[in-house]
Symmetry: C2
Subunit: 342 residues, 2 copies
Amino acid sequence: MRTVYTADHRLRDSKTELYHGALVPPFECPERAEIILARINEVKLGDVLGQKGYGLDPVLRTHDKGLVDFLASCWDEWQAAGYGGEAITSVWPTRTMRGDRIPTEIEGKLGYYALASETSISGGTWEAALASKNVALTATDMVLDGERAAFALCRPPGHHAAIDQFGGYCFLNNAAIAAQYALDKGAQRVAIIDIDFHHGNGTQHIFYQRDDVFYLSIHGDPAEAFPYYLGYSDEPGEGKGEGFNKNYPLPPGSDYSSWSEALDDACARIHNYSPDLLVVSHGVDAYEKDPISFFKIRSEDFIDCGARLSRLNLPTLFVMEGGYAVSEIGVNTVNVLSGFED
Amino acid sequence: MRTVYTADHRLRDSKTELYHGALVPPFECPERAEIILARINEVKLGDVLGQKGYGLDPVLRTHDKGLVDFLASCWDEWQAAGYGGEAITSVWPTRTMRGDRIPTEIEGKLGYYALASETSISGGTWEAALASKNVALTATDMVLDGERAAFALCRPPGHHAAIDQFGGYCFLNNAAIAAQYALDKGAQRVAIIDIDFHHGNGTQHIFYQRDDVFYLSIHGDPAEAFPYYLGYSDEPGEGKGEGFNKNYPLPPGSDYSSWSEALDDACARIHNYSPDLLVVSHGVDAYEKDPISFFKIRSEDFIDCGARLSRLNLPTLFVMEGGYAVSEIGVNTVNVLSGFED
């Protein structure tokens, strides 16, 4: 399997994350991608290619232009306002306020476009997000051109980013942009299986009313884990999209036996859907030693996970999402890919 | 004019405020009330009395029980979870998620009940909020019992707190609780004039569909200032409440000439409404040297403001809200009260 990677991911290098009431160094850090890349080379998974350019058109097929313009100018506006820290909002439009006003002041605007505030915006963030989306699209083209599978080593990740909101370490939804791009290139149906520990609220939001993308996610019960307010089992999709969204929220301490049961159910549904492309939102924070998650998946389980995905026998695009046990992120990530290939 | 004050306000003494992407010592600090109290004694404004007890019943006439239970247990739950900082959320139910789920995990629950995250919850916060509401109710009873006016030296403040959300330094809406209490004691109509620099989104939210409380507020344009998503001029009230909400958002740099014009208009409307009680949400952050506001009101202007309020010739309850130019907060706050009495 070939990998797409760009060193531009390093431009996303913020210094502060709001975590449990304190500002800490971000869990989503540049080392993550470097360690995965090193492991890919170590096990000789396959060639590593650079990104191609795709511009903003494929982004605007998925995201709101207001969000895109905001992300492009946020850091400059924040600095121009003379604010001291990285761009982190302390405000947002709540249920007791109005949702139809976008303030002109930058913190108010930031709160409008944010879906969480652990994720600061700093210099280089937007450039890295653009490169990450290019990585996803370059790998998509490889699969559309006939490769069985490809790995988009995206960073920053994407699955929390909604049509018009960023957060959860995500700015542009790489997997969703890739799925839409495949549809625009002629695919009829795309399935997205999200194996990241966290529910991909953004991906669900983007495709919730559509039947041409089937989103399935296995994740920590949102009553107990980020993103908290989406990802419950009673979210089947809406309108034309009803029946094309499937959540598997699992409780704290879940191990591979219940996790793989959910995976098998998801794979059976994907098989029945018969998509032209499978996108795997590939996170490895289900890992037992992940610092911000609560599943008990072992490193070797990820090999088996890859093997089960492979049996679907579909053109498959892996898009990197989360995983914060940094020293083991290379082994765990590549285990899924190796398991897929064996 | 007599003042109600309790030293219990000091129990609200958090150490961190999320401000422009950094954690800083809170602008809403215990010194504020102490300096106001010192000024009251210095100018011999009148006797200072302690709080009486009122329990939770008058709170539950205004606020959701879920919010009250949450505020009572939040700090214990946060500590039990082993989280490092003071209780500050980084999540909330956004427009791209669901609003009908209250997570069990404490940060998710915190995000559900928060309307902003500058305001941390720490040990003593709930006890101080309860005392602050007692201060407001004690002063309310003094006015209901026949005093022309009384000053509730409330801390923490209240006007941002909505039916089921806290934030903006506020936990329980002291002015709203006082207004509801007066109605429950037989008043037919209460007017609340909010002269704090910030729009009292909570007070507006609580009474937006009612005609027995007329809320009027002069404040920084929310397109440019907290609370950002409420307080615009096109919010007249709803249903039975239509016509009983009036906002005067003013632009950065506004001075007393435009501010007092808004005040005169508000006073004319209050006069026509003919309330049994006037509640003044009394903040002095419209002051020209306030560190987090943008009006240009001078200290002497506050005397004139008090005089204009006095001409309404109504039983009047002053309830302390904001003001963060700490060294001048005593003079400015008491200037309004002295101007009212002269």
